[in-house]
C-alpha cells in the first residue's frame, strides 16, 4: 500500500535501504531549525537507553521549511553519533528526512509517516513535536513502550496542566469525545502520541486524507479511529507540556475550527460505530490520570463576556438555524444577564453542543461557518467557568469536570434523536 502512495523516489530509496524496523519515531517539522536539535537529542537518548536491541529509525517529515530545518536534522544526527559512543545501543539508529510538500500540512506529514511505518513494518511508532520544549527522553520511551511491550495499539499522552490551561480540551473536546466514542481519553487533540503498525496500515488504507478535518488534525482522527474500531488504547502521563516558542499556539477561533471541526467530522464519519454506544469505558492509564496545578490566573474576563454577548446578538439568524428554539431562547436570555451574575449551566452547554453537532450532520449551513458560530458560545461558557472557578481548588475543578462528562453521557440520547431526525429543516 505504501508504495502506491506518492512517496518521492529519494524517500522511498532511503526507506528501502533501512529495511524492517521495530521502532519508528517521527518528527513533523516546519521551520523548526531552532528546536529540532533538542528534539532529536531527546529521541536518540531515549532509544539508546531504553531500546538497546531494537532496530529503530527517526523520521523527519518536513513541510518545506525555509530555515534549513532538514539540514539541521541531518547535521545534528552526525554530531550525536560521535557523542553517544558511550551509550549502550547495539544497533544503528537510522535517520531519514524527507520533504512531503512545499507547504506544511499535518495531514500530509502523518500520511508520509504511516506510509513509512507500513513499508518498514514498524511495530511501534511515535510522533513527537519539535514545538514542545518539555520533551524528554522518557516521553519518547513512554509513547513507544506500551505498544512495543504491552501490546497496546494506541497511546495518548497525559499532561500536567495549570488550572486555566487547555480549557477547550477540558470543557468540550474530552467530555464530548468520551461520551460519543465511549473511551475516556483526555488528550485526543495532542501533538504527541504512539501507535502500532497495524493501526498505521489501517489508517493508510482509508480514503480520507484529502478531507480538511483530517489534514488539520490527523492525530485526533487516528485516536478516534482507534476508539471506534476497538483498538486497545491507553494513556501515559508525561508531565507538564510547554511550547518551545511561547504564544505560537493557535488562537481560540483557529483552535475551535480545527478541533471541533475535526470532532464533528469524525462523528459523521464514524456514526455507525458510536450511535449505539452508551456510557464510557476507562482506558488503562500509566501514572496519574490528571494533574492540575493551582497556579495560573484567568485572563481578561470582561472582554470575553463582551464577545459572547455581541456574538449572540449579531449571529442571531445563524444561531436560529442551528439551535432548537428553546435552547436559542435560553442562550439569548443568559446573554442579557449582569456579567457578575452570569452562568452558562452545563445542561445548556451540553445541549447546545449536541444541537451544533446534529446541525453539522444535516448541513444546516456551511460546515466551517457552523463551527465558527460556536466560538461566541464557547466564550460564554469560558467566562462562566472562569467566574465560577476563580478561587476553586484543582480538586474541585476536577470534580466539576467529571460532572460535565456525566452530563454529556446523560444527554447522549438527545443527540442521537436529533442526529437521526436528519430531515428536520427550520422554517
Amino acid at each position: 500500500m505504501a508504495e502506491e502512495i506518492l512517496l518521492q523516489d529519494d524517500f522511498l530509496r532511503q526507506l528501502m535501504s533501512v529495511g524492517e524496523v521495530d521502532l519508528l519515531v517521527a518528527i513533523p517539522s516546519y521551520n523548526h531549525a531552532a528546536t529540532i536539535n533538542e528534539t532529536l537529542q531527546a529521541i536518540e537518548e531515549s532509544l539508546h537507553q531504553n531500546f538497546v536491541r531494537e532496530r529503530a529509525v527517526i523520521l523527519n517529515v518536513d513541510g518545506g521549511s525555509s530555515d534549513a530545518t532538514r539540514q539541521m536534522f541531518l547535521d545534528t544526527s552526525e554530531r550525536r553519533n560521535a557523542g553517544l559512543k558511550s551509550l549502550t545501543s547495539l544497533r544503528t539508529i537510522h535517520r531519514i528526512s524527507c520533504e512531503y510538500d512545499r507547504s506544511p500540512s499535518q495531514g500530509m506529514a502523518l500520511r508520509s509517516v504511516v506510509a513509512a511505518a507500513d513499508l518498514l513494518r514498524a511495530r511501534s511508532c511515535a510522533v513527537v513535536s519539535p514545538g514542545t520544549a518539555s520533551l524528554t527522553p522518557s516521553w519518547v520511551a513512554n509513547l513507544l513502550r506500551p505498544v512495543y511491550r504491552e501490546q497496546f495499539d494506541f497511546v495518548a499522552p497525559l499532561y500536567a496542566r495549570s488550572r486555566f490551561q487547555g480549557l477547550l480540551a477540558r470543557d468540550l473536546l474530552y467530555p464530548m469525545s468520551r461520551a460519543i466514542f465511549g473511551r475516556s481519553i483526555r488528550e485526543v487533540y495532542s501533538d504527541e502520541w504512539g501507535f502500532c503498525g497495524r493501526l498505521a496500515s489501517q489508517c493508510l488504507e482509508q480514503e480520507v486524507w484529502h478531507e480538511e478535518a483530517v489534514r488539520a488534525r490527523p492525530g485526533a482522527w487516528m485516536a478516534i479511529t482507534a476508539m471506534c474500531r476497538d483498538f486497545k488504547c491507553c494513556q501515559y502521563f508525561l508531565g507538564p507540556k510547554t511550547a518551545a516558542v511561547p504564544g505560537t499556539s493557535a488562537d481560540i477561533v483557529e483552535a475551535i475550527r480545527q478541533t471541533v471541526g475535526n470532532l464533528f467530522w469524525c462523528m459523521e464519519a464514524n456514526q455507525a460505530q458510536w450511535l449505539n454506544r452508551t456510557g464510557s469505558q476507562a482506558v488503562p492509564t500509566f501514572g496519574p490520570d490528571h494533574e492540575l496545578s493551582a497556579d495560573g490566573i484567568p485572563g481578561a474576563q470582561e472582554k470575553i463576556f463582551d464577545l459572547f454577548r455581541s456574538g449572540v446578538n449579531e449571529l442571531h439568524p445563524i444561531l436560529a438555524s442551528i439551535l432548537a428554539e428553546d435552547t436559542h431562547a435560553q442562550v439569548k436570555a443568559i446573554a442579557l444577564l449582569d456579567p457578575g451574575k452570569f452562568r452558562f449551566s452545563i445542561e445548556l452547554w451540553v445541549r447546545t453542543l449536541y444541537e451544533f453537532a446534529a446541525s453539522y450532520h444535516r448541513a444546516a449551513l456551511n460546515r466551517d461557518h457552523l463551527v465558527q458560530a460556536l466560538v461566541p458560545l464557547y466564550r460564554g461558557r469560558l467566562y462562566s467557568f472562569l467566574l465560577e472557578h476563580a478561587a476553586s481548588s484543582a480538586e474541585a475543578m476536577e470534580v466539576e469536570s467529571e460532572i460535565l462528562c456525566q452530563e454529556f453521557e446523560r444527554q447522549k440520547p438527545y443527540l442521537v434523536a436529533r442526529w437521526n431526525s436528519k430531515s428536520e429543516v427550520k422554517p
Binding site: 499556539s249 483552535a255 460546515r367 465558527q372
Partner: protein, 233 residues
C-alpha cells in the same frame, strides 16, 4: 340580385372552407409540436432533477444559505426550481415554434425576438442564482470573522459585501437580457463608485481610530492579542 347574393355567399363559404383547409393542418402540426414539446420538456426536467439530486445541489444550496432565501420567498428547493425552470423554458420554446407554424401575420418577428431572448433569460437567472449564493456565503463568512475577532459593526460589513455582490449580479443579469444596457452600466458604476467613495470618506474621516485599531490588530503585535484569552489547548 338574388343570384349575386347566393354567389357571394358561396364564395365566402368556399374561402372559409379553403382557409380552414389551409389552417387546420397547421393547427394539428402546432398541437403535435406542443405535445412533443411537453414530453421533451418533461424528460429534460426529470433528467436534470436526477442529475441535481445525484450531485447534491440542495445540500450545497442549504450550506450556502440560498435555500433559506428560497423558503422565505415561498419557493421550492433549488433542484426543483432549476428543473421546473428548464421545463418551462423548453416547453415555451416548443409553443413558440408551434405558434410560428400557424403563420399568423405580425407574430413571426415577435416570436423570433422572443426566441433569441430565451437563452439569455436562462443565463440571467443562473447569474442571479450564483450571485445570491456567493453574496450569502461571503457576507456570512465576513460576519462570522468580524464577530469572532471583535470588530465593531460586523453587520454593516456583512451587509456591505452582500449589497455589492447583489448589485453586481443584478447588473450582470440585466445586461445579459439586454434591458437598457447603457443605463444599467452607468447606474451600476455610479452606485458602486458612490458606495466605495462613501466608505472611503467614512473610514478616513470618521473612523481614524477604527482604522488605527484595525491596523494594529492585524499588523501589530499578534502575540498580545492571542494572550487575551486562556490557552485553549
Amino acid at each position: 340580385m338574388k343570384e349575386m347574393i347566393i354567389h357571394g355567399l358561396g364564395q365566402a363559404y368556399e374561402n372559409l372552407v379553403r382557409m380552414f383547409a389551409d389552417f387546420l393542418p397547421r393547427l394539428v402540426v402546432m398541437l403535435v409540436i406542443v405535445v412533443v414539446g411537453l414530453l421533451v420538456a418533461y424528460v429534460l426536467k426529470t433528467v436534470l432533477r436526477t442529475v441535481l439530486h445525484v450531485t447534491k445541489l440542495d445540500r450545497l444550496s442549504e450550506e450556502a444559505g440560498a435555500s433559506r432565501f428560497l423558503r422565505m420567498a415561498a419557493l421550492p428547493s433549488m433542484t426543483e426550481l432549476l428543473s421546473r425552470s428548464l421545463f418551462w423554458v423548453t416547453w415555451s420554446g416548443f409553443i413558440l415554434i408551434g405558434i410560428s407554424i400557424l403563420g399568423v401575420a405580425g407574430l413571426q418577428e415577435q416570436i423570433s425576438r422572443l426566441f433569441l431572448l430565451l437563452p439569455a433569460i436562462f443565463v440571467a437567472i443562473l447569474v442571479l442564482f450564483l450571485g445570491l449564493v456567493t453574496a450569502n456565503f461571503l457576507s456570512r463568512a465576513a460576519l462570522l470573522a468580524a464577530v469572532n475577532a471583535g470588530y465593531p459593526s460586523p453587520k454593516l460589513l456583512s451587509w456591505s459585501i452582500r449589497f455589492v455582490i447583489w448589485a453586481l449580479a443584478i447588473s450582470m443579469a440585466l445586461e445579459q437580457v439586454g434591458v437598457a444596457r447603457q443605463t444599467v452600466i452607468a447606474a451600476f458604476s455610479i452606485v458602486f463608485g458612490a458606495f466605495m467613495l462613501g466608505l472611503a470618506i467614512a473610514f478616513g474621516l470618521g473612523g481614524r481610530e477604527l482604522a488605527r485599531d484595525f491596523l494594529e490588530r492585524n499588523l501589530g503585535d499578534k502575540k498580545t492579542k492571542k494572550h487575551e484569552e486562556p490557552q485553549p489547548l
